[in-house]
Subunit: 195 residues, 2 copies
């Protein structure tokens, strides 16, 4: 099983260096309200276009009414591992003006990254996921029409792989690989950037 930091990621500062997305959470760990508040505070201090702050979160700690309402809408692949996490933040963006919708999604991604990195700095892990029925979850949670759900963020501490089914254990064995910089970083004329 290969966790962070991977080669190349070793040069990064914490908490970017050690971030990775476990799929085995400790189903007995309970997250305190103060920690939830700190994670949300990290989200709101992300930057956004014109300080528009389009991010919204449904806060669903395991055992809460929001968690119970959300869980049935997980995809089959996510229905095993997500409910073991201590907390799910269901992340959406307010789309008031359709022309700002693309930027709102970009900004929501930034806020999700800040939550995820703050979690790592606190000794927690976060694993984001898109696999849930967004329309049905919005209805179940009472999310208004001008907020579009985009992703879930499962937060918790890592659990014992022996306690979960093979399928969820396997998920963590997937190779953590990235495209080489030459496919992602370009110079003028879309030629691979070379330092």
């Amino acid at each position: 099983m290969s966790h962070a930091p991977m080669p190349d990621a070793e040069r990064l500062a914490e908490p970017m260096r050690s971030r990775w997305s476990p799929s085995v959470f400790d189903a007995r760990h309970v997250i305190g309200d103060a920690d939830v508040e700190t994670l949300l505070t990290a989200a709101v201090w992300a930057p956004s276009a014109g300080n528009s702050q389009p991010w919204r979160f449904v806060v669903a700690p395991r055992g809460s009414a929001a968690h119970t309402a959300f869980v049935p809408h997980l995809s089959r692949g996510n229905s095993g591992w997500v409910p073991r996490a201590s907390l799910v933040l269901v992340a959406g963006c307010e789309v008031v003006d359709v022309k700002d919708a693309d930027t709102a999604r970009y900004d929501l991604g930034q806020a999700a990254a800040h939550v995820t990195l703050q979690a790592v700095a606190m000794g927690l892990h976060a694993h984001q996921f898109g696999g849930f029925d967004k329309d049905a979850a919005a209805v179940a949670l009472g999310v208004p029409a001008h907020v579009r759900l985009m992703a879930g963020i499962a937060v918790g501490v890592r659990g014992d792989p022996a306690e979960v089914p093979e399928r969820d254990r396997e998920r963590e064995h997937r190779e953590r690989a990235r495209r080489p910089l030459g496919e992602v970083a370009m110079g003028l004329g879309w030629q691979p950037w070379r330092p």
Copy 2:
């Protein structure tokens, strides 16, 4: 002038705690290739849906051909402060399948957040901006049609406010404020979340 950490942001871990977006960069500072490579490495180690890694960056250090091609397309408000930064990363996302476009923008936002936070950890600052002519910049830079430009990330070290026009100096005086958590964090039925 109020910089980070603001009240509430004080509870965050570094580098989220100290991140802010200066508008006065030191026009004499030169960023080294190794630092550029580290920033890009932070971007590619961001998480993305199914590890799709839709982010693409045009790398434009001050003085490069890409920088010269990009700068004329800045909005009037950004034309003064952005070119003083040591580096501009012009960020876009690959949109192959239109149904994945929303997620690609969310994932690009995450990568931009990772770049920005890595910059802070390295003693640099990053200030993202959307104000440039995306279509014209794409043509000037040779960005292919399946990549949509979304934002610029200006990176550098903070400069002397006395060296810039009043308008750019003023930009940093804007109050750094955020919505209260009760407007952003909700429970079941879209009621403000209370810890």
